[in-house]
Amino acid sequence: MNKCYDLVVVGAGPGGLTAAVTAGKLGLSTLVVDEQPEPGGQFYRSIERNLPENADTLGKDYLAGKQLVESFRASGVTYLPNNSVWNIDNAFNVDLISESLPQRVRGRQIIFSVGALERPVPIPNWTLPGVMGAAAADILFKSADMVPQGPVVLAGSGPLLLLTACHLIDNGVKISAMVETAGFKDYFKALPYLPGALCQSSYLLKGLQMRLKVKRAGVPVYIGCRDLAVLGKHQAEGLTFTCRGKQEKVTAATVLLHEGVVPNLCFSRLLNCEHEWYAPQRYWRPVLDRWGRTSVPGVSVAGDAGGINGGPVAEIAGRLAAIDAACKLEVFTKAERDRLSQPYLKKAHRQKLIRPFIDHVFPPSRQALVPPDDETLVCRCEELTAGQIREAIAQGARHPAQVKGETRAGMGPCQARMCGATIAEMIAASSDLDIKQVGSLRVRPPLQPLSIEQLANMELGEER
């Protein structure tokens, strides 16, 4: 018999941990499955063992995770670290794979709290050694106390770019430039959202403080940049770009690219949840109600996987989804759920007020969405360039699945997590179709490659 839990939570970041702690308190038998060896997700990555000397750099927001992880450890909730979910079926059988044995568990309710992914930034030479995502670099710092080799150039758009810059400055890494693709016109566009943002002035203040820090460190900042290209043949050597009509060149040993983060949709897509297009940041997100319920009964999403709102909002969302799960499992009535969740619904609403402003100030750059030149690699798994994708579109492909059929784009092990959005944007850009009509590639099991032997030897209970 497979173990059956009232609630299976996928992901042990701020949303998943809060959901688990809440569910445990409400008396639900709860399992948390997570790929990482320790709780915290990306937001609170390695929170339990971070060095005290990094505390100032990582800041208050990060350290707040310590308490959450402690209460999670004390909650008595079942926790399976180092486990990946590779399939979930219609009966909510959840198939797990780890270094030891594969196993199957079942959940009566499921909460996905699987966070965000850094948006790929397909610019010329983005696949050279020495180029990495800014958020990825920050995770290396949190988890392994490693910083990239300087001088570093940071390029792109988004609050994480600034945050990473500050962490690098604190670690004494030389930054040769900040090359921002967002410009003044984006600030103008964001102005209507400023009043809402002022309700969350601590965020704005934090943003200004980060700006000030970069300025004090003497980092040259270019804004409204276009035509970004990584320099180098075998290794990144710097970045070229155009700023105010002038071609610029910055040398660097490491290039950190970032154009924001997007929801990790692999589970909501796997389960065919309904999705909606979020235009300001140009990404899809599952359609959720106030408690995080998706269109599929029994499946909820908490945190950035449902739309980017950051760690603190994810924690509230995790709590709400767990309260709602208890209600669905008839632990208490809807009226009781509404009473219990009222303060958190209010808090979530307040915390989200900053988002429209941030999302308009830092839009993803056009270049990162639709690579203008033909040589830039789009599908890394199958090594396909923008030119090859464009050729398939010119032949009449109006859906990513058709581009996939023609070119193999998206057929690699990552299942189009890297190239899917770019292909859709390229189709929309060169046809009469709106991006919302273009559609997306299906996510298929196994969510990560498994060998024929592993699959053949799996003991799968018959539980339907």
């Binding site: 058709q402 059929g405 092990p413 299942q415 060998s451 699959l455 053949a456």
Partner: protein
Amino acid sequence: MKTNADVIIIGGGIIGCSTAYYLAKKGKTVIVLEKGNKIGYGGSGRNGGGVRQSGRDKRELPLAMYGVQNLWPHLSEELGGDVEYYQRGNLRLGKTEEHLKILQGLTDVAVSLGLDVKMISGEEVREICPHLSDEVIGASWCPSDGHANPLLSTLAFYNKANALGVHFLFEQSVLAIKKVAGRARTVVTTSGEFEAEKIVLAAGYESQAIAETVGVEVPVKKIALNTLITDAQPPMFYQMLGTAMADFYGHQTTHGSFIFGAGTPLDSEFIKSVVNHPPADATAATCKGILSYIPALKHAKVVRSWVGFIDWCEDKVPVIDHVEDVPGLILAFGFSGHGFGISPAVGTVLSEMACDETPSIDISELNYGRFSGS
């Protein structure tokens, strides 16, 4: 938007695309109405790519043999796109005496119809394909069989038809076929009406609901099958493989990956309930089969698995016929999971039928009347 043509084809799968191509080549104007927003969304984009003659029902064998002799060998050249056709033979494997008996039966029928298929021993099997397990004690061997890439084949027909001026209209969900003066003449979709002299119904498992609107009934049902694909392996063999019990079939592709399909239908109701992915136990069962026949593939990684729905006809062969009571309507569905290999031949025949020519391949036993006899 064009609303009339010589021929309307309902369904943008490989049958629809190949028929459209052969009709355009004959100078006909053609509209293809596709329900989805892409080509080959149904079985055409999800099958295992077999181009087999061996193991086929004798009623559709003439189509399979015609295609292998006359169409597949030069299809890539003709369509201007590589369809990755390999003619390296088909091994249908047996592990027990019981299996060999089944294979012998299939072989005898095919031989009587002139197919170059024979039974071979386990040793001979491993001479042809050294990667097969010692548990294999014999097989049927048809050297002129092979496989092709279903996605590329479907898209090659589509691209060429497109270039020849065929109008492909997407998101055209067909509501009904309407008769005018006793003839099938109008196709009503969610976005309008289309008119033609001839209407070819090739919409896979969606066909029967449309056929019903003019009183046509073919005993087909929707069945779910699972398929999987591995990461690229070094070149190993290019034969098409199957088994006596049809537990799985598959081959290595040009890319290096292996594609395998299962022969055991899945529980359709369960599959449809939320997600239409193969349940883990179905994938595991397929992998068990693969491992027991091709142990060398044990470390190959499965990167994707999917479900395809097929139009399963009661007697396992399609209906390819005019309908007496509904002149102007041509049926082409019920391919029962083995339509891909015969699709160029079927397209050829359908293009002839739509032009009121006598089909150059014998399809008499695929008639519609066979269901009304009882």
